[in-house]
């Protein structure tokens, strides 16, 4: 029946579509469930036949119908168990398929998109949203089959037994159906509002817990933290309203779609028929046995709708990730290889949204092999964006980026990555040994090479001091490493990769003085002999750069060497002046520093 639904709603994608990869097995499970339902009804009919035989021929064993009851009961039961097994295995398979597809898709999506959605959110989709489908796929599909097949088969059987009683049973069912529809009225809208209110509560809860250190410092103890309470109150208000609104019809639905009213109607009506005209007791009994469950079979539909609604939210999020565009790849025959270690931006423009403002506008520069180019500018000037256009986090919207004389879009991803290495601000270590982390991307590097890289990155000494040296596990589940140590491991990684072009997004925060010194030393080792693009957040490191690009709101404001730019007296000179002041900032409680502290000018003259 899910195919019907799909056809009837071509625009609004049906949640059933998510089962496409395991559709065959799900259909099989539903068929088994339907058949099982049929057989259990047959078993009930056979019971009436047993009684019939006992009345007709008292004292004779009703072997045939009794055997029938036994066979049908056992078969129905086996079918039901099997149906659930099949749907569960299908659901597990579907989880695996969806997760595999998602992870493969992410490997081809632009990194900019991944960053936009966020690593945590993506992980949540792959793990939790896929898991959320379980109840829908595994548990509800056999129930669905039963909820539809049960009443249909029952009705046919009843019509065959006694059409008058059949109509009575249908009347009860119809009444229940009406009540249920009433309860479901405006449901889509209410469910939407319900989820909206719930999401606000979740957000408030997360905020409340995460911000607790801050909340506490402003906690006067008099009233509950207002924002949290507001969200809770709004949710309560909505929930109470919904319950009251749906209360009458929902309760009516539950009262009617219970076996008891059907049983009562069938009893009264049957007895009346027997009194007025004639009704064979066995037929009446068969109707009672089969027909009473008819309304009951509809009951699960109510909770099933709820489950599907929940699954829908997860399906939407999964689809959203699957629909993110993949980075266009050049055809293998058209691919070109980089010729040298140069980097050129030619009239590059870039905007994050088609109708947004330009994050980078008309930027042209050339970085000759072996030279150092520094990108500086106020925050939001587009420094990091420019750096990320090189590894194709995004593709430019105007102009082109040439690595080794070749447009990055005309290169195979492997060739581009083989030419350029990146050291990002956020240091990322994988679960695995430190050696494996350094060796990333160069799996056949010898232990000596790894250690040499670590030594150059000023990391060898502290790695040796760890409990298991290079075999110590790092990453999420490994030992604690300070930020500076982690940075040096990632620098060792880049040194080992040894690619001609280096894109370096300088860290904004340094851990502690000794780490800072080691880090600077490690970076200068890494940069030796490379074409370097350095995103500088602190200016101390760039005075000797071959060229400094000063960006302002995505445009190239100034270009030159340090001394020239200072002499020019423009934006760079202003930034430099501010930097010097920030460096010299000294906190002092209330007395002027000269009173008891040495002035920074004097500090500099201290022996070291």
């Amino acid at each position: 029946m899910h195919t019907d639904r799909e056809k009837s709603e071509p625009d609004d994608k049906s949640p059933w579509a998510v089962m496409q990869p395991v559709r065959g097995q799900i259909r099989f499970a539903m068929a088994l469930a339907g058949l099982g339902t049929f057989l259990s009804l047959v078993a009930l009919a056979m019971l009436a036949w047993v009684i019939h035989r006992l009345i007709e021929a008292p004292g004779d064993w009703p072997w045939t119908p009794m055997f029938g009851v036994l066979v049908c009961t056992v078969l129905a039961y086996l079918l039901r168990i099997n149906s659930f097994d099949q749907s569960h295995y299908a659901a597990f398979r579907l989880e695996q398929i969806l997760r595999t597809r998602l992870s493969e898709h992410l490997a081809r999506v632009s990194l900019g998109e991944i960053q936009r959605i966020g690593a945590g959110a993506l992980a949540k989709v792959i793990q939790d949203d896929v898991k959320e489908l379980h109840v829908f796929v595994a548990d509800s599909t056999p129930l669905y089959a039963r909820a539809y097949a049960g009443p249909a088969i029952t009705l046919i059987a009843l019509l065959w037994l006694d059409w008058r009683l059949a109509l009575a049973a249908v009347a009860v069912l119809a009444l229940g159906f009406v009540a249920m529809s009433l309860a479901m009225r405006d449901r889509a809208e209410l469910v939407r509002r319900y989820h909206a209110a719930r999401e606000r509560v979740s957000a408030a809860v997360v905020e409340f817990v995460q911000a607790m250190p801050v909340v506490r410092t402003f906690d006067s103890g008099t009233d509950t933290f207002g924002r949290f309470q507001h969200a809770l109150d709004a949710y309560l208000g909505f929930l109470t309203h919904w319950y009251r609104e749906a209360g009458l019809s929902a309760r009516l639905g539950m009262a009617v779609l219970n076996p008891m009213p059907t049983l009562a109607i069938l009893l009264w009506f049957g007895a009346w028929l027997g009194w007025r005209e004639s009704l064979d007791f066995s037929t009446w009994l068969a109707v009672l046995l089969i027909g009473t469950g008819m309304a009951e079979a509809m009951m699960p539909l109510m909770s099933l709708y709820h489950l599907i609604d929940k699954a829908k939210l997860s399906i939407d999020r999964i689809d959203e990730v699957m629909n993110t565009p993949e980075l266009p790849q050049v055809a293998p025959e058209g691919a070109r290889r980089p010729q040298d270690a140069s980097l050129v931006f030619e009239g590059v423009g870039f905007r994050y949204d088609a109708d947004g403002e330009e994050a980078v506008a008309d930027l042209s520069f050339t970085a000759a092999p072996g030279t150092v180019t520094a990108l500086v500018g106020p925050s939001g000037a587009g420094k990091t964006t420019v750096a990320r256009l090189i590894p194709r986090f995004w593709d430019v919207t105007a102009g082109r980026v040439l690595v080794g004389g070749v447009d990055v879009r005309e290169m195979r991803a492997e060739d581009l990555m083989g030419q350029v290495s990146f050291v990002f601000q956020d240091t990322f270590l994988f679960a695995g040994s430190i050696a494996e982390n350094i060796r990333l991307g160069v799996p056949d590097a010898s232990q000596e090479a790894v250690e040499a890289a670590a030594r150059a990155a000023q990391a060898h000494a502290f790695i040796e001091a760890l409990p298991q040296g290079y075999e110590t596990r790092a990453g999420e589940r490994g030992i604690f490493l300070s930020g500076g140590q982690r940075q040096r491991i990632t620098i060792a990684r880049a040194i080992l990769q040894d690619r001609p072009i280096l894109v370096l997004d300088e860290a904004t925060a340094f851990a502690d003085p000794e780490n800072e010194l080691a880090l600077v030393a490690a970076l200068s080792q890494l940069m030796r002999g490379k074409t370097v693009i350095l995103v500088a957040h602190r200016l101390s490191t760039i005075r000797d750069a071959d060229q400094i690009l000063v960006l302002d709101r995505g445009r190239l404001a100034e270009l030159g060497r340090h001394d020239d730019l200072i002499a020019h007296g423009g934006l760079y000179a202003r930034l430099w002046h501010g930097y010097e002041q920030a460096q010299a900032w000294m906190l002092h409680p209330d007395t002027p520093p000269s009173a008891h502290a040495p002035s920074p000018a004097r500090l500099a003259e201290m022996p070291s």
Binding site: V50, I55, D60, Y77, Y89, A107, L111, I114, G120, K131, V205, E207, F208, M212, P213, V215, T217, F218, D219, R227, Q229, L232, L239, T240, R244, G247, M254, N258, M260, P261, W268, G274, F281, L285, T292, P391, A413, F424, G475, R493, T508, A509, P513, N515, E516, L517, V520, R538, S540, T541, D544, G578, Q581, A582, Q583, A584, P589, D590, P600, A604
Partner: protein, 626 residues
């Protein structure tokens, strides 16, 4: 009353083992429903009565059929039909009323109350416990999903009662008509119940194994999504994806195994129900043929029993939901049981604001060794004290002890001579302003974010704080000025702007003690400058504790405490510490050398030059707030 209305069976039939936990759950349930406990008890009682009445109604089939067969006794038929209908009607009324717990909003109100109570508890419990990752996660999930767990309570209880109480009452009533059949019914159906407990350990074991696998996969997935930029750059995204997919395959195998193992008890219980049904048929037919059982009675029994089969077979599924509820209740109780840090009496409020740590030793609950060891330090009032030392040396922990995120295992922390444990928590909160490296802004307007520091502050006061914190220029440039919701423009504020808002907040609070924990570490140069100006305004005339990575920033401090591995290794003023030539001097030298290091080596011996570049350290006048 308590036992009568409990959603369990009388002890005689199902044995004491399943009863005890259910009784415990029932008590926890009443406790968790707070002021709505009476309504809940009434609702559960109502459902039990409804289920019992339904059992009686079904039992009416016995006399009813007996009056139809072999020859109809119509008056008796009408009478029994009327009795049966009346019982059904009463059952419906009882259930209708009981469902009022849901539909009249009592359930929503009870979960709302519970959530509020849990929220209160989070505010009271030691912050250290909450910041422990595991507890933090559990708490937020609990707080977020408390109603998800409890909303289905009535529905589930109703279904379970339908599976237990209804058959039981019907079976008891059958005893009066035919004691043998009654006995068989009693033996078959209620004996199935304890079996569900047998399923539990298997269920729990599989759940645990599944949870472990999920957790591992979860870590792998997160690592993959976080590491994608690095993986792609290293050209091994495909390889990692492959190992991730092996994990997915393994998960499927574990799931399938759990499904098979979990199925066994389920299959067995369901089989017993089906077999019981067949047994009733077989025995009934035997006795009917022997002439000791009326065919009418047998027919009635078949109709009754066919009604039991479905709910009983589903019983096991319902108990799974009940287990979820039980787990949630246990967690709620555990969370509520966490004691807040003890309040010393008599309480006292400090009038001076010097800070003293004496003999303080502290280790985090989840850590194996102390992070602060036997530390003594005095921080004078209205003076600035700097904490320096390598990462992990205990600097931040010391400030957390002052704010009482946790209490030290030994020693005392005192403000103005008063032990912080004797200061009422609200008072203590009011004494200290903190500026962290990471700024937390709330999803609210700029104005509300600043004003939360002192809700009764006038607009002029808020504005003055914002001006002093150098916020005015950028606030006025925001699309809706002061009323701009920060959630909408979160990304558009720079780190420095966010930090300045948090400083305005701290300024407005006017606390006598200010803690600065690396407030400018994560900022770029340009933002740093304006944040520094804002901080200069904040620290005026306060007792200040500052943690800063750049030592020149704190060179003017009245006292510098050098920490290493949780111990105080050196203290004094900058000049004295430099002269002493020990730990501080080494750090200072390292930093000076880093500053002068030339990243780009134009001359081979550049890096050995002494750090005498006076341009990087201009005269002090430039750093004075103007």
């Amino acid at each position: 009353m308590t036992t009568d209305s409990s959603p369990t069976m009388p002890a005689s039939s199902s044995g004491p083992r399943p009863i005890t936990p259910w009784l415990k759950t029932y008590r926890q349930l009443l406790r968790s429903s707070g002021t709505r406990a009476a309504e809940l008890r009434a609702a559960l009682l109502g459902l039990t009565i409804a289920a019992a009445l339904q059992g009686l109604a079904l039992a009416c089939l016995l006399p009813l059929f007996s009056s139809v067969l072999p020859d109809p006794d119509w008056p008796a038929v009408w009478t029994w039909l009327a009795v049966m209908t009346a019982l059904m009607g009463l059952a419906t009324v009882a259930r209708w009323r009981a469902q009022g717990f849901d539909f009249d909003g009592h359930m929503a109100a009870a979960t709302h109350e519970l959530r509020t109570r849990l929220g209160e508890q989070l505010r009271r419990m030691p912050l250290e416990r909450l910041q422990d990752k595991r507890t933090g996660e559990v708490s937020s999930t609990l707080l977020g999903n408390v109603d998800e767990n409890l909303n289905y309570l009535l529905t589930v209880v109703n279904l379970i009662l339908g599976a237990i109480v209804t058959p039981l009452v019907a079976a008891l009533a059958t005893l009066f008509v035919d004691w043998r059949m009654g006995l068989i019914l009693l033996l078959i159906f209620p004996t199935i119940l304890p079996l569900y407990r047998w399923r539990r350990p298997i269920f729990a074991r599989n759940m645990r194994r599944l949870a472990e696998t999920h957790q591992r996969i979860n870590g792998d997935i997160l690592e993959y999504t976080q590491g994608l930029p690095v993986l792609r750059a290293a050209r091994c995204a495909g390889e990692r994806a492959a190992s991730l997919q092996e994990g997915f395959e393994e998960l499927r195998l574990v799931q399938s195994r759990a499904q098979r193992a979990g199925n066994r008890p389920k299959v067995l219980i369901a089989s017993l129900v089906e077999l019981g049904l067949l047994l009733v048929v077989a025995v009934g037919v035997t006795w009917a043929i022997a002439g000791t059982l009326d065919v009418a009675v047998l027919a009635a029994l078949l109709v009754m029993v066919s009604r039991f089969a479905e709910p009983l077979a589903n019983f096991v599924n319902y108990t799974a939901i009940l287990e979820l509820i039980e787990t949630a209740l246990e967690r709620i109780e555990a969370l509520l049981a966490i004691e807040p840090l003890p309040q010393r009496t008599p309480t006292a409020v400090p009038t001076e604001f010097d800070i003293a740590f004496s003999g303080v030793t502290f280790g985090y609950a989840q850590g194996d060794r102390p992070v602060i060891r036997d530390l003594d330090a005095e921080l004078p009032a209205r003076r600035m004290t700097a904490l320096v030392g390598p990462s992990g040396s205990g600097k931040s922990t010391l400030t957390r002890l002052l704010m009482r995120h946790a209490d030290p295992q030994r020693g005392t922390v005192a403000i103005g001579g008063v032990d912080v444990r004797a200061i009422p928590p609200e008072t203590l909160n009011g004494l200290i302003s903190v500026v962290f490296q990471d700024v937390y802004l709330f999803d609210d307007t700029v104005l509300a974010n600043i004003r939360m520091a002192r809700p009764d502050a006038s607009d002029a006061e808020v504005e003055a704080a914002a001006r002093a914190a150098r916020c005015l220029d950028f606030i006025e440039r925001l699309p809706q000025g002061w009323d701009t919701p920060l959630g909408d423009i979160g990304g558009r504020l720079s780190g420095g702007e966010r930090q300045r808002i948090s400083i305005a907040r701290a300024l407005l609070k006017q606390a006598p003690i200010v803690v600065l924990d690396e407030p400018t570490a994560a900022l770029d140069t340009e933002s740093e400058r304006s944040v520094q100006e804002a901080i200069d305004a904040l620290v005026r005339d306060k007792t200040v504790i500052v943690i800063a990575h750049r030592l020149s920033t704190i060179a003017g401090a009245d006292a510098i405490l050098v920490l290493e591995d949780g111990r105080l290794v050196e203290q004094g003023r900058h000049a004295d510490l430099l002269a002493a030539g020990r730990r501080y001097r080494a750090m200072w030298n390292a930093q000076q050398r880093a500053k002068a290091w030339h990243l780009i080596e134009t001359e081979p011996d550049r890096d050995t030059l002494p750090p005498t570049d006076s341009q990087t350290i201009p005269n002090s006048a430039a750093s004075e707030p103007r």
